[in-house]
């Protein structure tokens, strides 16, 4: 599977308020919600303003693969399956979207049967047809979207893509407009396929939507909002869709309209929302304004732990990290408390690779390398380096020039020098960083890495450490982790469509990753919700996959 690597500002992330299990530290800052739907009273109507730091990559559901795009497009293009509009674990629950019910899956796990709800209308009033689903998937494949890899598991999808003919058929998808029946056949078992059906990429568009990027003239969809006034690079409007009939788990929008403007300056964004000149910020405020927000605006500022993992990769194919003792030494030496400060407090220290709130997450407790919230054991680390005979070995610590990667790499470089290695950081330009360290010729020894979920399942994280995903270029398994036992557990778990049943296998993988240690996870990123005074703050939900749920943005 190849897809865009996710970085803080630009790439697809799905943020979440996470289960209390992993969020003890959040209480001070109003962190993780226990989950659940909005209970606060939210009035309908009104026009709101919002700032984005960057314009979405695309305003086309088939193409968009950024947080900015996903947050907005989820409210415009509903897929056959979707997520509950709720916070925490409840929000990560798959529910029928435009489909009447969850799919019937054949015993062999290869056939998915769904039925389109009747009476559905696009925002222009035209009827939704079952065959529109195939057209929507064709667009993803034909446009070579970053999300196309998710759907290549459908029978005939790879052939459709390689033939390059727009009107050709995807043999694995059959649909009947009269009955609304949709049948999808997979080429191989994939336990995460339901999640793929719920991704924005599979949001339905009309059958005549062109096979081009529709950002300038957005396609119509089925959702609480419709897109208007799109000015690439500058902003867009989400206008309430009067043709939308609320679905059981997708309510209508509270706001009449949300005007989104791109404002590059994060400091200005924060000042404007504090001064009530704008109602909502998509991105966190700058670090030096966090303290003021945390202390003076507790009624309209909150932090949420996301389903993300921040870690150092250790290349097990390259000295000195091919020696387990050296890896252990680094694990003993890392101080998660220090890294939390590098993140301005927007990091929840963790010892696990899987984020809390994810199926298969079992807190590794006690952490074999010391409590993440306590001082590290530098002396033990030095002893292990000496024992491994690695004293003075040269190490290059890779990082990119985007915050917080640079200070994270510099911290590690200093740490390695402290424990007896000879390290220096190498900071690579952000847009080429992951390609650089993902190229085997680079022989990157250790460096910064992170991942935000595309969908709330462990498979979306564990491919990063799956031996089967190692490639010569564009490798996402930066440390070349290739443990047969781990590979086998991942394969078995991924084929199981019942994620809860596979949770034990996922947890076992997580523990083995930490214990060996093949990677050095140090925490989960927090993101922020901040609004103006007139917004019903508690009513604005923080969704685990799509961050702010803009359908719940409303007046007090």
């Amino acid at each position: 599977m190849t897809r865009s690597r996710i970085t803080t500002a630009l790439v697809a992330l799905s943020a979440t308020a996470v289960l209390a299990a992993g969020c003890g530290d959040d209480k001070d800052t109003g962190g993780g919600s226990e989950g659940g739907s909005a209970t606060a009273e939210v009035k309908s109507g009104g026009t709101f303003t919002a700032y984005y730091t960057s314009f979405p990559d695309y305003m086309d559901p088939a193409l968009s693969y950024t947080q900015e795009g996903w947050t907005a497009l989820w409210t415009v293009y509903t897929p056959l399956l979707t997520y509950k509009h709720a916070e925490g674990a409840e929000g990560a629950t798959l529910v029928p979207g435009l489909a009447e019910a969850m799919p019937e899956i054949s015993d062999d796990g290869l056939t998915y049967k769904l039925k389109l709800r009747s009476g559905l209308k696009y925002s222009d009033g035209s009827a939704v047809k079952a065959n529109d689903f195939e057209h929507s998937i064709k667009r993803v494949l034909n446009l070579e979207s970053g999300g196309s890899a998710f759907y290549s598991v459908i029978e005939g999808a790879e052939k459709y893509q390689s033939d390059g003919k727009e009107d050709a058929d995807i043999s694995g998808i059959t649909a009947d407009d009269a009955t609304g029946d949709i049948t999808i056949k997979l080429a191989k078992k994939d336990g995460s396929f339901n999640f793929y059906l719920a991704m924005n990429f599979a949001g339905l568009v009309k059958g005549d939507t062109p096979f081009t990027n529709t950002t300038d003239k957005p396609a119509v969809g089925v959702g609480p909002f419709k897109l208007e006034g799109v000015q690439p690079g500058r902003g867009f409007k989400l206008v309430k869709n009067e043709n939308f009939t609320p679905l059981p788990d997708t309510p209508e929008a509270k706001a009449d309209q949300i005007d989104v403007t791109v404002a590059k300056n994060a400091r200005r964004q924060a000042q404007d929302v504090i001064a009530n000149k704008v109602d909502f910020l998509q991105d966190p405020p700058p670090a030096d304004q966090l303290r003021e927000l945390r202390t003076s605006y507790t009624d309209r500022y909150k932090e949420y732990v996301t389903n993300s993992t921040y870690y150092y990769f250790l290349n097990v194919d390259v000295p000195p990290f091919d020696d387990v003792k050296v890896r252990q030494a680094v694990a003993y030496a890392v101080d998660e408390r220090a890294l939390a400060r590098v993140f301005g407090g927007l990091l929840a220290p963790s010892c696990n690779f899987l984020p809390p709130g994810m199926a298969g997450f079992e807190k590794v407790d006690p952490c074999p390398w010391g409590d993440p919230n306590a001082a590290p054991d530098i002396e033990k680390a030095k002893a292990l380096i000496k024992e491994a005979g690695a004293e003075g070995e040269s190490v290059t610590v890779f990082g990119n020039d985007e915050d917080p990667s640079t200070p994270v790499a510099e911290y590690m470089s200093d740490l390695l020098n402290q424990i007896g290695l000879t390290a220096k950081p190498r900071i690579v330009e952000g847009s080429t960083y992951f390609q650089t360290i993902g190229n085997q010729k680079t022989k990157a020894q250790i460096g910064f890495a992170n991942w935000f979920q595309d969908y709330p399942a462990p498979s979306n994280f564990l491919f990063l450490v799956d031996g089967a995903s190692i490639q010569p270029t564009n490798n996402q398994n930066f440390g070349n982790v290739n443990d047969p036992e781990i590979n086998s557990l991942i394969k078995t778990a991924n084929e199981n469509p019942d994620i809860e049943a596979a949770a034990a296998d996922y947890a076992a993988v997580d523990r083995k990753l930490v214990e060996n240690p093949y990677v050095l996870p140090y925490g989960n990123r927090k993101l922020t919700k901040i609004t103006s005074e007139r917004v019903a703050f508690d009513g604005l939900l923080w969704h685990p996959v799509y961050a702010a749920d803009l359908t719940t943005l409303g007046l007090k």
Binding site: L290, R291, R294, V342, E410, Y411, S413
Partner: protein
Amino acid sequence: MASAKATAGVAPAGATPAGAAAVAPAATPMRAAARAVRRSKTAMVSVGVLLFIIAASFAAPLWADHVAQTGPFTNHLTDTVQIDGEAVNVVSLDGVPIGPTYQGRYFLGADGNGRDLMVRLLYGGRNSLFIALVSMTFCLFVGAVLGTIAGFFRGWPDAIISRALDVLWATPVILLGIALGVATALGGLNLGFVKIAGDSLWLPALIIGVVQIVYVARPIRSSVLSLRERPFVEAARAQGFGSIRIMRREILPNIVTALLVLGPIVVAQTVAYEAALSFLGAGVQRPNPSWGTLIADGTDVLTSAPHLTIVPGLVLAATVLSLNLIGDVVREALDPRGLVTSGDGPGR
């Protein structure tokens, strides 16, 4: 005639380049410049400021080892420091570094990784000044050679060099510096016989030197174009001296004045360019400190930790201002009509 320039290093009246007529015939340009600086209070204060900054920068290891007791790369993210008997976090839990303590440790505060700002400022000064010195030397040397060849030989050497300089002249300096800096930051520079690592200070020094050559080469070419027609050069030719010897013994001593005028201005610009490129990530590579990288480090916490930006900014401004003020005095003494720095020169 040849002996006239050889004895004093200054061309006879009317032969000086760029109208350096204000120089007393008996004084070398160097002495004249020094005398002018000594007579100017502004210049003397500038020299004092500059010497202080240079001395402080060279004393960086002493401050680091004996006063701050930490190195320029050492992180102190979870450390505390005693202030008025209380333990204070070097970096707060929300990531805000400590401000100036005006005591040995963290005299000017810390950066986001808990590194002592004073230590990094002093080491950064060493790096910035090293780059400035190397760049200036490279730029003056190469610029003088190219300008002399172009002006002396004219013809096709002049055409090639002048067009190359035109291209350089037409390219925005900062953009060219960024392009070169980014291109070489990861893999370094490998020209076969010259290999420089991506994080070496030599790399930004050479890049800045290259982009500034035009500011030296063009005025030198103009001076040489004038010099080559002077009687003492014609006399040397008449005696059968070769071109190399004429350039070395007749031309070169007469462009020293121009180089002395250009030197302080070029070095001031070099310091500023280094800061700009490093600020943009295309100069000194992290974690090496320089005044530019230190300013960049502070921009994210401008409100809560303004010292991170202000202190290196002030030192940078003081250095550039001092160099410019000294340069002005030297220029007024050696080039009162502004011929060297007019049009083609860096003072435009």
